[in-house]
């Protein structure tokens, strides 16, 4: 059996590691679900007419607070759909007579889309004023291109269709591409034909204008922040330093002693130093010197390493002394110290999100796999360290106890 106090900490750490893994697995699975769903055919969403919208929020942009289409609207809708169907027929006859290049696209459109309803899903953004053409493209339905305006009457019908749709629209306006054309469909025409898949039509997607504006504003603000960070005004920095010094002298307290955080950070650095020095030593010892010059360098390196270890030990003694006289109480709100031997650590100079560019799926996979491997090794090392600490500490205690 393990000594009890040793086992408690080890068990806690093991359990923590297991829990962390489980959490990550959960997250991964969640995001896998999302990704898989994105890659399948996108299903038309049902209207949320079941829950009437309380409160003022939705009505700001919604021209009409109606949540369910009134019978009059439905009738209008049907009327409109019929008109559009007729327009399609008219147009088909026109184009068949004339333009040959347009015919295939129309034909494909018409074969794929039963009369009218979906083919004329105009790429408008409901909820925004009127029927002005937006730059969002239809993401559902079969239109590969925007419908070329063939006639004035058609235009009118289209804009009329928008207004109707806007009124009968969902309770929350959708500043998005016209995905909800299905709402026109149920009462009039049969279901949407080919469903939308990312693979085929993904490149047609367009983000809503409002979002794009916000996002680009956001990106530029972050960029400004980063550039301001790097070119920090010296006046301000001087003023801050001055203030900090004044605080120190005005505090009337003892000389600045090492804070808990600093001790932690320093210990972490020394641990890292130890690891790196040890690795370097291994390298030197395992290398077979070719000539006397290399041998000499090897010797110098080893002696240099020895000196550095001595310095580290010295620094450690100082830390120990500082800790002993005024034990810094670790803060319950702080993070548990993890000095990974390979990690850089420290503050981030740049704030704006930077890119990680990859060129193929394989590369991404390799990257992710390596990342996990490093994390796993890190965890194993931590567990080994815990084990070692507990062994050395626990068993020593036992031995002294007798």
């Amino acid at each position: 059996m393990l000594p009890r106090d040793c086992s408690r900490r080890l068990m806690a750490e093991l359990q923590g590691a297991l829990d962390a893994c489980a959490e990550r697995q959960l997250q991964l699975e969640q995001s896998l679900r999302v990704c898989r769903r994105l890659l399948q055919a996108w299903e038309p969403t049902e209207t949320r007419a079941s829950e009437p919208p309380p409160g003022p929020e939705t009505n700001e942009e919604d021209p009409s607070p109606a949540c369910a289409p009134s019978p009059q609207d439905l009738k209008e809708l049907e009327f409109l759909t019929q008109a559009l169907e007729k327009a399609v027929r008219v147009r088909r006859s026109i184009t068949m007579a004339g333009e040959t290049d347009k015919a295939p696209s129309l034909k494909s459109r018409s074969t794929v889309a039963p009369p009218g309803a979906i083919a004329f899903a105009p790429p408008q953004t409901p909820g925004q004023a009127g029927g002005h053409a937006s730059d969002t493209r239809p993401t559902k339905g079969s239109c590969q291109t925007t419908v070329p305006p063939k006639g004035h009457s058609e235009r009118q019908l289209l804009s009329l269709g928008d207004k109707t749709r806007v009124r009968t629209g969902a309770r929350a306006p959708r500043p998005g591409p016209g995905l909800r054309d299905q709402q026109m469909a149920p009462s009039a025409a049969p279901k949407a034909p080919k469903a939308f898949t990312l693979k085929e039509k993904g490149h047609l997607l367009r983000l809503p204008a409002a979002f794009r504006k916000m996002a680009s504003q956001n990106a530029s603000l972050w960029a400004q922040l980063s550039s301001m960070q790097t070119s920090d005004s010296t006046d301000a920095t001087a003023a801050k330093t001055q203030f900090l010094q004044n605080m120190q002298t005005a505090s009337g307290g003892p000389q600045p002693r090492l804070s808990a955080q600093e001790v932690e950070a320093e210990t972490g650095r020394l641990w890292k130093a130890c690891t790196l020095l040890r690795l370097r030593m291994r390298e030197e010892l395992s290398a077979a010197p070719m000539d006397w010059m290399q041998e000499y360098r090897c010797l110098l390196t080893l002696e240099g390493l020895q000196a550095m270890v001595g310095q580290c030990l010295h620094r450690l003694q100082e830390l120990r002394a500082a800790v002993a006289e005024q034990p810094p109480r670790p803060c319950p709100m702080g993070r548990p110290p993890r000095a990974s031997p390979s990690c850089g650590g420290g503050a981030d100079p740049a704030w704006s999100p930077q890119l990680l560019v990859y060129s193929s799926a394989q590369e991404l996979q390799t990257l992710a796999a390596l990342r996990l491997r490093v994390a796993m090794l890190d965890q194993q090392i931590h567990l080994e360290k815990v084990l070692l600490e507990e062994e050395v500490g626990g068993l020593e205690r036992r031995r002294t106890q007798g």
Binding site: L39, G344, L387
Partner: protein
């Protein structure tokens, strides 16, 4: 205003108008920031400003994200935690430690504490960065924080049951299995992600990005979240953002889904009234609109921070005057007493371990170096000591010193130039071209490989030491069963 000890800055009058501006910018850039009035009151140590400042300090110092557990603590407890956190960071003024925790007085002291924090580091930017709503698929290269065990181990008093070695071994096996699962799920995720990026290339308005992220595509697919059965807390929303690749959460909190970030961001914005506000808002706003609102708020805060950076000089001069007005009470140095519960943390333990390691290393090096020196002297004793020889020696010495200097910088430097801790947005490009501040996957792979090699070496060494130690002590204590470290 108190009597100033410093000569009046002649230009201060000209900048007098800038102070309200600076304070306004500061208050806008802080989450649920106190009104500028609070700052002014605090200068005169008015008691009504105190509770707001305690809350603000708690917000600033608490590890993000602010989960329910922390947010619902009583104000006195929050005040105590603030004191403890400031102490552990080395806050110099003793007066703070003696403030009553009920929020009845001490606003000036709290103002000083806040300014101290602001002066030491880029607090505002850090807070913003932590609550930033990530729009892309993000990945943090270095995960040193991700795998810390969640919080201080709960004091589960199961000390009565002796732990079976086999149980430990079983747990370790379970851990290995979970890791394998993670790896395979991760691989699948990468393939899917890569496909999504490929299929949506050319869509994004921002050409440097080129394609949509999963979050953006999801927003297009389902802008209203209409496929939700019920609106529950964001944790259960299926619109989970692929944070599977982004592991920079702090220990102790749940999975950081896209919408949970929104939730957090909204809470920051609204001052932390959780729960019911969000639930009712969810039923009103589509996720897209909620996102737009949050982005808007974030943009406003960003603007405030930029304004602050431009005008902060005035604030610091003003803070000097605030410091002057403080009465220099001389608190008894011995009264530092144990007003905080002693946390039986073994922070000394780590120091001991490092000391032990360093001493062992020193012995090894000593032995090796002496051995080599003796061999060298024997060999090279016969060589001439001409000027050519000494030149060579000097050159070698300099080269070695340079190498060792670089080695030293590896651990002394706090900043890693490759910035592995910042989450990076994944972008797929056929040619793999990247700007100067961006990371290339190939380089990151190289770095990770070398890290892997380094860590493997460390692990082997540790395992060997473990075995040695156990063997040694097992010899000293008869009848002890030792666990063989998990073989790889």
């Amino acid at each position: 205003m108190g009597r100033r000890r410093r000569p009046v800055d002649p230009a201060a009058g000209a900048r007098a108008g800038a102070l309200p501006e600076a304070i306004a910018a500061l208050s806008q850039s802080l989450p649920s920031g106190p009104s500028p009035e609070i700052f002014r009151r605090a200068k005169f140590d008015r008691p009504e400003a105190t509770p707001a400042l305690w809350q603000l300090l708690f917000r600033v110092l608490a590890p993000l994200p602010l989960d329910n557990r922390l947010a619902s603590l009583a104000p006195e407890v929050q005040a105590r935690l603030v004191k403890s956190a400031l102490r552990s960071q080395g806050y110099p003024r003793l007066a703070l430690a003696q403030l009553p925790e009920d929020g009845s007085q001490g606003s000036r002291e709290l103002l000083l504490a806040l300014s101290w924090l602001l002066a030491r580091g880029p607090v505002l930017e850090q807070m913003l960065a932590q609550t930033r709503v990530p729009l892309g698929d993000e990945m943090t290269v270095c995960q040193c924080e991700a795998l810390a065990s969640p919080g201080p181990p709960a004091p589960q008093v199961r000390a009565e049951d002796p732990v079976d070695v086999r149980h430990v071994q079983w747990l370790m096996g379970k851990l290995r299995f979970r890791w394998r699962q993670l790896v395979s799920s991760q691989q699948e995720q990468c393939t899917l992600l890569s496909k999504i990026h490929l299929y949506t290339s050319g869509c994004h308005g921002d050409h440097s990005l080129g394609h949509l992220s999963v979050a953006e595509a999801e927003m297009l697919r389902d802008p209203e979240g209409g496929q939700q059965v019920r609106w529950e807390l964001p944790r259960n929303l299926d619109l989970a953002y692929p944070k599977g690749l982004h592991f920079s959460w702090t220990p102790g909190m749940g999975p950081r889904t896209f919408w949970k970030d929104l939730y957090q961001a909204c809470c920051w914005v609204t001052g932390g009234s959780l729960g019911s506000w969000w639930d009712s808002a969810c039923s009103l706003l589509s996720p897209l609109r909620a996102l737009l609102r949050t982005l808007e708020c974030e943009n406003r805060r960003l603007e405030a921070v930029l304004a602050w950076r431009r005008t902060e000089l005035v604030f610091w001069r003003w803070m000097d005057t605030v410091l002057d007005t403080c009465v220099l009470g001389v608190p008894a140095a011995a009264s530092q007493g144990t007003f905080l519960p002693q946390i039986p943390e073994c922070s000394g333990g780590v120091l001991e371990l490092v000391a032990w390691e360093l001493r062992a290393l020193q012995e090894e090096l000593q032995e090796a170096a002496e051995h080599r020196r003796a061999a060298w002297e024997a060999k090279a004793g016969g060589c001439g000591r001409g000027p050519e020889w000494s030149a060579v020696r000097r050159a070698s010495r300099e080269a070695v010193e340079k190498e060792l200097g670089a080695l030293r910088r590896c651990w002394e430097q706090d900043r890693d130039p490759a910035q592995p801790h910042v989450p990076h947005r994944l972008v797929r490009r056929e040619d793999g071209a990247a700007g100067d501040r961006d990371l290339r996957a190939a380089e990151v792979i190289r770095t990770l490989r070398s890290q892997e090699a380094c860590l493997e070496a460390v692990l082997h060494q540790l395992q060997g030491q473990c075995r040695q130690e156990l063997a040694r002590l097992a010899g000293a204590l008869p009848g002890l069963i030792w666990i063989p470290p998990p073989g790889r």
